[in-house]
């Protein structure tokens, strides 16, 4: 009797130590929130930038078409012509850059999915099934009361949950560390290329937009009828929309990319140390929201 009680105590103690160790290895609520916020912001940033690149390509085709309608063939062979309406935002360019920004969005979604607790309900259902099966074993049914069976179910669910949390933290730490270099590199590329002054995206938009404004100004001076002016004003509207992208959206993409790089650094620290400040992650979230708001405003214009 004494021996059995001692074994029971030892088992309970072992379980308690195991639970304690596993609980210490789980992500804290603050860490989960930080990863979730980073994941959501990366998704917004990647998705919005990808869709903006597509919009820039669409606008390029419209602007080049409008310029050719107003002024005829380009006087410089390097500018877009009837056979190269997408000059500057060709499919390969857009696909390559948006492929990378879609990768950032996918990374954000992966992180958010990893911290999203979809396992609790599944674990509860599984532990209920386990207890029901145990109850169908005659020997177990004879020796265990309903209360004890219920306690076993709870223990299975909790240990399963702790195991999941432990694996979750391990997976997140590994993934965040493994991607740190690639995410940083991508942020540097986007910050450089979307810089509103020195980046190629803004310069490319200017190459398409400025000749259209020139031809539209010339056509407006010679416009005599309402229809003449309407055609010209449609061209000015296209140029205006592109200028908004060039000045507002491009700058916000660059700023958000810089903020994401800082947030990525904070994320790597935060998954290891729950006391780490998540200020940079919040700052990135604000930049991503600002980009989304600017795009919504411009598109609704």
């Amino acid at each position: 009797m004494t021996t059995r009680r001692a074994v029971d105590w030892r088992s309970a103690l072992t379980l308690a130590v195991l639970v304690g160790i596993l609980a210490g290895c789980a992500l804290s609520a603050k860490q989960r929130a930080a990863v979730g916020q980073f994941g959501d912001s990366a998704t917004t940033f990647g998705d919005v930038t990808s869709s903006e690149l597509k919009a820039m390509r669409d606008d390029t085709i419209k602007m080049t078409t409008a310029r050719l309608l107003l002024g005829g063939r380009s006087s410089d062979p390097n500018l877009g012509d009837p056979t190269t309406l997408d000059r500057g935002f060709e499919l390969k360019r857009v696909e390559t850059v948006s492929g990378a920004t879609r990768g950032l969005a996918a990374y954000g979604k992966s992180l958010a999915a990893l911290v999203d607790d979809t396992q609790s309900a599944q674990l509860k259902a599984a532990s209920n099934e386990f207890v029901a099966s145990l109850g169908r074993v005659p020997a177990a049914r004879e020796k265990l009361s309903d209360k004890q069976l219920e306690a076993i179910g709870t223990a299975v669910q909790e240990v399963g949950g702790l195991w999941v949390e432990w694996k979750r933290k391990q997976a997140l730490t590994t993934i965040v560390k493994a991607t740190r270099g690639a995410v940083d590199q991508l942020c540097d590329l986007l910050a450089r290329d979307f810089d509103p002054r020195t980046g190629w995206v803004a310069q490319q938009l200017l190459v398409i937009e400025a000749p259209l404004v020139g031809q539209a100004s010339d056509a407006l001076a010679g416009a005599r009828t309402y229809n003449d002016r309407k055609t010209v004003m449609d061209a000015f509207r296209l140029a205006q929309s592109s200028r908004m992208r060039r000045t507002e959206v491009v700058a916000r993409v660059s700023e958000a990319a810089k903020a994401m790089k800082k947030a990525n650094d904070a994320l790597a620290q935060a998954v290891e140390d729950s006391a780490w400040s998540t200020q940079d992650i919040q700052s990135f979230a604000e930049r991503a929201r600002s980009l989304q708001t600017a795009v919504t405003t411009i598109v609704s214009d």
């Binding site: 500018l79 390559t96 694996k167 995410v183 590329l189 190629w200």
Partner: protein, 106 residues
């Protein structure tokens, strides 16, 4: 810091565009439009060169990120498997109980 060629060309394109919009002289506009096309063409050549160098960098970064995304998806699947494992235990217990009942009856 000195402006890069891209910045210089962008500045010139913007300035000429502003002059085109402002001038009332048709002949001046025609002359400015030709200059604008030439400088915009030079800026296009400059951008083409920059982009040609940038695209392989995007490809490399995206490839590394996609690998990590695949790993994340695999990790998520593993987390979802824990409940499945418990269910497998339950099914195994059911089978054992059925076997025990058969043995007892025999």
């Amino acid at each position: 810091m000195a402006n890069t060629l891209g910045e210089e060309l962008s500045g010139s394109v913007s300035n000429i565009t502003a002059l085109i919009v402002k001038t009332a002289s048709k002949s001046e506009r025609t002359r400015l439009l030709k200059q604008q096309a030439q400088i915009a063409g030079q800026l296009q050549v400059f951008v083409d060169k920059v982009v040609d160098e940038a695209l392989p960098e995007y490809d490399a970064a995206a490839e590394a990120l996609n690998e990590a995304n695949n790993e994340a998806a695999a990790a998520k699947k593993k987390l979802d498997k824990v409940a499945g494992t418990i269910k497998k235990f339950a099914a195994a217990i059911d089978k054992l109980a059925a076997l025990a009942a058969k043995v007892a009856a025999a």
